[in-house]
Amino acid sequence: MKILVPISKVPDTTAKIAFTNNNTEFDTNNVQFIINPTDEWYALVRAIELVEKNGGSVTVINVGPAANEQFIRKALAIGANDAVRVDAEPKDAFFTASQIADYAKANAYDLVLTGKETIDYNGAQIGGMIAEFMDAGYVSLVTRLDIEDGKASINREIEGGEEVVEASLPLVISAQKGMAEQRIPNMRGIMQARTKPLTVIPANGNSPLVNIAAYHLPAEKDGCTYVDADNVGELVRLLHEEAKVI
């Protein structure tokens, strides 16, 4: 079984969010970047586990500049077999998904496994777009994925609970917590990652469909109004009369 895992480079959760160029660009100064957590912790690790169990190989793919190769090497150190970098700035989700889908189709992948959303744009859209390009099934927010005899058994989150579905391959899945446990690369993995194949390919000529015109920071909060623990009735009054939420 051939599994493709798209990984995204995102600002660390604790990064300070600021903008430059008249609020049209994200300010990357002093920002530490990481592999998007759900891509790394759940999608990549579950892909490796499935290959350990059923055989096959895991390819990680990233759309981005050469500087992203440190993140790709980390994914190889965690246990992916090989990697592909599409040499282009990821302009929007449609552009990025089309690059990944072209590679997946040309190389007949059985399963594309992504994280549920990236923590920068929170769009949850790459997986669905890849699936539509591939004319394949897509299930998102998946907490359990088992594959046996070419058939996937899946638990996915729905409002207030879970749904169990089955699907045949090829298939696109977005992973979230529950699917796997984070793996820390060990020294052996890090050494092996240096010599694992990393292929660089050019981007297709697709144009993005959306553009971010400007960013805004949310309005500053007025600060916390404290209510005495011996006077909680005052909190109920404030929530009703001032905040008007009850």
Partner: protein
């Protein structure tokens, strides 16, 4: 050129997120000088479907077919595109919920239409849609470059005003066949009678400060008194005190209620990422230095086992 609204349903009832999408679609359509048309896939009574008129839809295309009772992104995308063609719609509104998050990106590719995943407001004067980014730490104005547009509407982003009208229900043949489905439904496990966290207008959430799962009774009682859903922090779901689907935060569910009450939760940045779009946040914690107080609108420094029972009594008195 009407606006099409995808009505997401469960067991023959339109979800709350769909009602918001209907009203949002109607408001968008009115600004364009046109009507909003719904597409309802799956079995439902005609009167229930017509009730969507109350939320602004003039007409609903209804595929009253058991084949659609359970969601499949591939087949549903094909059906919604057929509905858009029939309605002559270039703009499609979908709720940005569990099913909508599967559908929206597929529609974007299928129609070569720019997609806003999680619009939090109506478009501005330049036609751009604001959306929360960087896990709620910022907003971005999305400018769609194509004539056709897909808008995923974030929950609790618009205040519904009911019209009292009824929608015309039209039988809809989507052309979708069984082979278009990529998934087979096996079963659903949903807690009955509870308010789904992602749709809740009020949320009562608790963390490790509660000391053990046996102490959640007062949290559930407070939630019930307020008409709120219950939630929890990551450590609490990790150690199994509460189910995973109650976990809010970066790796759990993102919520956007009018009222979020956090009890015994310190307020780590990963937790805030899932709740910082809440309109009003109340923090109850015995540690005055808990970082959550910096994000809170109202705070009580005190022991949860002392404060929560008192708050419950006050809420009950208020309700009476």
């Amino acid at each position: 050129m009407s606006v099409l609204v995808y009505i997401d349903q469960s067991n023959g009832a339109a979800k709350k997120a769909s009602l918001e999408a209907a009203f949002y679609g109607k408001t968008l359509a009115a600004a364009k000088g046109t009507d909003a048309v719904g597409v309802y896939l799956g079995e439902a009574s005609e009167s229930d479907v017509a009730e969507l008129g109350n939320y602004g839809l003039n007409k609903v295309l209804h595929a009253n077919d058991a084949m659609f009772n359970n969601f499949d992104s591939k087949a549903f995308a094909k059906a919604v595109v057929a509905a858009a063609s029939q309605a002559g719609a270039q703009t499609i509104v979908v709720p940005f919920n569990q099913n909508g998050k599967q559908l929206g990106p597929r529609l974007s590719v299928r129609l070569n239409a720019g997609y806003v995943p999680g619009a939090s407001a109506l478009p501005n004067a330049d036609g751009q849609y604001s959306k929360a980014v960087f896990s709620g730490k910022s907003f971005a104005d999305y400018d769609i470059q194509t004539e056709s547009q897909i808008i995923g509407l974030s929950a609790n982003s618009i205040q519904i005003e009911k019209s009292g009208d009824s929608a015309a229900v039209e039988a809809f043949d989507s052309g979708v066949i069984a082979d278009d489905f990529a998934t087979t439904h096996i079963k659903k496990e949903v807690l009955e009678g509870e308010i789904p966290l992602t749709e809740a207008e009020k949320v009562v959430s608790a963390g490790r400060g509660l000391k053990g799962p046996e102490n959640w009774g007062m949290i559930e009682d407070l939630a019930k008194a307020l008409g709120a859903a219950t939630a929890c922090s990551r450590p609490v779901s990790d150690i199994g005190w509460r189910p995973h689907h109650e976990h809010v935060g970066q790796t759990g569910v993102t919520v956007k209620p009018n009222l979020y009450i956090a009890i015994g939760i310190s307020g780590a940045i990963q937790h805030l990422a899932g709740v910082n779009q809440s309109k009003v946040m109340v923090v109850i914690n015995n540690d005055p230095e808990a970082p959550f107080f910096k994000a809170a609108d109202y705070g009580i420094v005190g022991d949860a086992f002392d404060v929560v029972p008192k708050l419950l009594e006050e809420v009950k008195a208020f309700n009476a």
